[in-house]
Point group: D4
Chain length 149, copies 8
Amino acid sequence: MGLNVYLSGEIHTDWREQIIDGAQGLDIIFSSPVTDHDASDDCGVAILGEEPNKYWHDHKGAMVNAIRTRKGIADADVVVVRFGDKYKQWNAAFDAGYAAALGKSIIVLHGPDHQHALKEVDAAALAVAEEPAQVVEILRYVLTGALPS
Amino acid sequence: MGLNVYLSGEIHTDWREQIIDGAQGLDIIFSSPVTDHDASDDCGVAILGEEPNKYWHDHKGAMVNAIRTRKGIADADVVVVRFGDKYKQWNAAFDAGYAAALGKSIIVLHGPDHQHALKEVDAAALAVAEEPAQVVEILRYVLTGALPS
Amino acid sequence: MGLNVYLSGEIHTDWREQIIDGAQGLDIIFSSPVTDHDASDDCGVAILGEEPNKYWHDHKGAMVNAIRTRKGIADADVVVVRFGDKYKQWNAAFDAGYAAALGKSIIVLHGPDHQHALKEVDAAALAVAEEPAQVVEILRYVLTGALPS
Amino acid sequence: MGLNVYLSGEIHTDWREQIIDGAQGLDIIFSSPVTDHDASDDCGVAILGEEPNKYWHDHKGAMVNAIRTRKGIADADVVVVRFGDKYKQWNAAFDAGYAAALGKSIIVLHGPDHQHALKEVDAAALAVAEEPAQVVEILRYVLTGALPS
Amino acid sequence: MGLNVYLSGEIHTDWREQIIDGAQGLDIIFSSPVTDHDASDDCGVAILGEEPNKYWHDHKGAMVNAIRTRKGIADADVVVVRFGDKYKQWNAAFDAGYAAALGKSIIVLHGPDHQHALKEVDAAALAVAEEPAQVVEILRYVLTGALPS
Amino acid sequence: MGLNVYLSGEIHTDWREQIIDGAQGLDIIFSSPVTDHDASDDCGVAILGEEPNKYWHDHKGAMVNAIRTRKGIADADVVVVRFGDKYKQWNAAFDAGYAAALGKSIIVLHGPDHQHALKEVDAAALAVAEEPAQVVEILRYVLTGALPS
Amino acid sequence: MGLNVYLSGEIHTDWREQIIDGAQGLDIIFSSPVTDHDASDDCGVAILGEEPNKYWHDHKGAMVNAIRTRKGIADADVVVVRFGDKYKQWNAAFDAGYAAALGKSIIVLHGPDHQHALKEVDAAALAVAEEPAQVVEILRYVLTGALPS
Amino acid sequence: MGLNVYLSGEIHTDWREQIIDGAQGLDIIFSSPVTDHDASDDCGVAILGEEPNKYWHDHKGAMVNAIRTRKGIADADVVVVRFGDKYKQWNAAFDAGYAAALGKSIIVLHGPDHQHALKEVDAAALAVAEEPAQVVEILRYVLTGALPS
C-alpha cells in the first residue's frame, strides 16, 4: 500500500518540509498548492493579462490555482489541512470541506487554541494533530503498522 | 421550477430573515443550521452526556449539528454562504468547499474587505454579493426572469 | 410516468411555445433558461454591480444564468436542444454536452442544413427532429405509447 | 504531480503543436481527437460500410470518433478547448459542456471577438486564454509554480 | 415505504396485468415499456421520417423507446425482468444488466427450462420467480411484511 | 426540513416503538426491516419454494429481505443502528457499513458494554446513544433546534 | 493513449483470437471471461462444494464468474460484445446492458440476421460490426487515426 | 488482468498468510488492516495523546485505523471477509457492508456454524468459502481460468 497525500493550508512555516522529511522511506507521493505567496496571488494576471480591478486580479489567480488544488485533492488518499496562527485561512477550511465531500481521509493540524473555532472541521477528520511529527507518525502507522517507540 | 436554498454561515445578524422575507412569494424552500449559538455549541453534551474535556464537548456537538448541515446542503440547489465581520467562520468556508465538491450552485455573501481572503471561496461561486437584497434579486431572477427595476 | 423536460437553445423563435402548447394534457413539467435576451445578458451587472470591462459584464451574467441552467438540466429526464439558423449558439452545444455527460436523454431539434456541423451533437441524442411538432409526438409516445395517426 | 491534458476543438491550425512543443520537459500526457479532417469524417463508413444517406454517413463517423473523444476527456485532468475563426465548431462547445459536467478543469482558448458568444463556455472554465503560449504558461505554473519571467 | 417497480421484458402474455392486478392496494407505482409491438417497432420512423434501410428503421425506434426505458429503470426501486418462451429477448437481458449496474433490486421471472441459460442474469437478482403471483407476494412482503397464508 | 430515518438492527425489544412514539409531531418518515423474526427467516422459501438445504433456505430469505433493506437505507437521511445484548447481530453492523459507504448520517444505539467491540462502527457515526430517548432528542434537535429542558 | 478492451459474449468461435492477433502492435490490454465452457459452468461447485440442485450448481458458478466479468467491464474503456449464431446468449446482452449503464464505449459484433432482435443493444453501441477485422480497424483508428487502405 | 485483494476481519489465526502463500505466482496485490491487536487498539493515543476515557481512547484509534481500512477497501477489486470463532467481529461485518455499497466483489470466509447468523452478509457475497485454500482457488480461477485438479 502506498499513499497520495495532499498538504493543504498555511504557507508561512516549514510544516510541509517537516512532514516530507520525516516521511522519507515511506511509500508516499506528496503534493501541495503553490506555496510562493506572490506567485500564487499574481499567477492569473501574470499569464492571462492585467486587471485594473483587484477583485478580478484575485479571481483570475484563484481560478488558475484551482487547477492544481483540485487535481491534488482529487488524487489524494489523505488530505492534511494545516491552520496556522495568523490570517483567515478560509482556503484551508474550503479545502477541508471539499475533501470531506469527496470522502477523503482528512488529518487536521492546528494548535489547541483553535479547537473551538475548528470544531466543525475537526469533526470531519479522522485525526487531529498539533505537530507535524504526529502527522508523520500517523502516515507511518497507516503504511507499516509501526507505532512511535 | 422551485429551489431549495441552504443558508450557511454567520449567525449573529438577521441576514437570513432579510433573504427569507425578501423572497416571499417565490417558490423556495429555505433551510439553515441551528442558529441558536448556545444550543449549537451544547447540543452534543446536552443530549448524549457531559464531557469534562472541552475538545470532546465541542466534538459531540459538531457531529450532531452535522446531521442537519449535511442534509441541508445535500438537498440544496443553491447554497448561500455568508461571511460576517467577526470570528474565524471556518465552518462557513468548510460548507462552501463541501457544497462546491457536490456541484451545488454557490452564492457568497460578504463585504468588500474580505475579497482577498475569500478569493478561493469566491472562485467556486456563481455569484458574489455584498447585500442580502442582492441574493433575493438573484433568486427572483433565477426563478422568474425578472430583474430589479 | 411523468417527465421533466428542459428546453435549451435558440431564443428567437416560438419553438418552446409550440412544444408546450402541443404537449398540453401530458404529464410534463417544462423548464427553460431565461429567454429574454437583454435580461439574460445583463442580469449579472443589474444585480451585482456594473463592470466597465465587457468580458466581466458577460461573465457575471453567464454565471447567474448558470444557476438556472444547471438546475434545469440536473432535474430533467429529457433535454431538448434547439439550434436555429443564426448565431454561434455555442451555449446550446455546451448544454448538450453537459446533458450527455449526465446521461440525460437528449432530443436535438434543427434543420437539415446543420446536419454535418451537428453530427457530434446528434450522435449523443436519442432523437433528432426537424420540427417542434415531432418533439411533441416523441414526448406523447414516450408517455402514452400513442403514435401520430 | 503530472497532468493528463486533452486538446479539444479546432483542427485547422497548429495550436496543438505549439502547446505540445512549448510544454516539453513538463510531466504531461497530451491526447487529442483525430485531427485528419477527412479521416474523421469518413471513418465510420470506411470501416463499417457505406451509407447512401449523408446523415447516417456522418452519424457512423461521429460515433466511432466518440470512442476516442470520451476516453480522452474521461482520462483528462485538464481539457483545453480551442475555438478558431471559422465554422460552427459545435463539437468543441459540446466537449466543453461534457467536460464541465464531469468536473474537469477547463481552459478555453479563443480570440477576443468570440467573448460574447462564448460567455457560457468561458463561465465554466478556470482560465480563458487567447494564445497557445498562455496555455503552456498555465500548465507550467500548475506543475512547477514557475511564472513567465 | 412505497415502491417504484419497472416491468421489463416479454410483451406477448398478460403477466404485467397479473402483477398489477394482484398488487392492488399496495403502495406501488408501476411502469413499463410500450408494449404495443407494432408501435414499439415503428415509433422512430412514424415520428421522425421513413428509412429505406431496415437497420436504421429499427435504430430510430430503439432510440426513441430508450427514452422511456431509461426513465423507467432509473426511477425504479425494483426491476422485474420477464423471459417468455419465445424469441431472443435480448432487450430483457440488456435491461437486467443495465439495472444491475445501477444497483437496482432485480426480480427475474421465467420458467424452469431457462435456468441454465439465464444463470448470469439470475445471479444478479435478489429473487427468481416462476409465476407472476410470486412477484406479487414478494412485493407485498417487502411493503407489509405479510407472507402468503 | 423533514427526515427519512431507517431503524436498523435488533428486533427483540420495543426500541423502534419508543423512538417512533417519542418523535410524534416531528416531520419524520420512519422505515424498518421486517421485524417478525419468523417471517424474516422464512420469506424466501414461503414465496419462492422450499429448499432442503438450510443454507439456501436462509439465502433466499436474506435476498428477499435485502429488497426492503436496501430501499430503506438508500432513501434514508439518517440510519439508526441498534445493537442489543444478545446474538451476533452481524446484519446490524453490515447495515452500518453499507450506510457509511453511502455517506448517510449514522446514529448508533447500544449499551456501554459494547463500546470496545463497536469502536469501528461508532467511529463512522455522528452520534452514539445509549437510550432510544436520546435518539428522539437528536432527531428533535436536528429538525427544530430544541434541546431537552 | 492506450485502451483496455473487454471481449464479451460468444465462446465457440475464434473471434477473440482474430481481434487480439489483428491488434498486435497497438497499445491495448485485452481481457475476457473464462472461455472454457466446462470450467465456466462448474467452477462454483468444483471449488466451493457440490450442489445436488442444478439451479444452485449454476448459481455458484455464475457468481464466481461474476468476479472476473465485473472486473473486466469495470476496467474497460471499450466493451466488445459478440453474438454468435446459436444459443440464447443472454449473458452477452446482460454484459452490454451493464456496460451501457456504466457509460462504457460499446462495439457490438453480430451477423445481419440478428439486426432486428438486437436493435436495443445496437442502439446503446458506438459501433456495430459484422466481422472481427472491423473491430480491429476501429481500435486501430481510435488509437492511431489510421484508416484501412 | 491483475487483482487488488483486501483481507478483512479476524486477526487471531494465520488465514491471511495461508491465502498470500497459496496465491504466490498470481498477479495479486494484497492489503490488510494492521493485524497487531495492541497497536491497532492503541494507535490513536500513542500518536495523538492519552485519553482518560476509554471510549475516546478507542475512538481515536478506530479513526486512525480507518485511514488504512478505507484506502484498502476503496482500492480493492475483491474484499475477503473472514469471521472466526470468537468475538463479536462487528468490524468485519461493517467492512462487508461498506464493500457491498461500493459494489466490490466480496468473498466471505467462515465455518458452517455461522451460516445462519451471517446470512445477510453471505447474501451480499459472490462466494462463501469455509477454508482459505478455497479463496486461493477462486482467485486462481478468476485470474487464470484454472480449476483445482
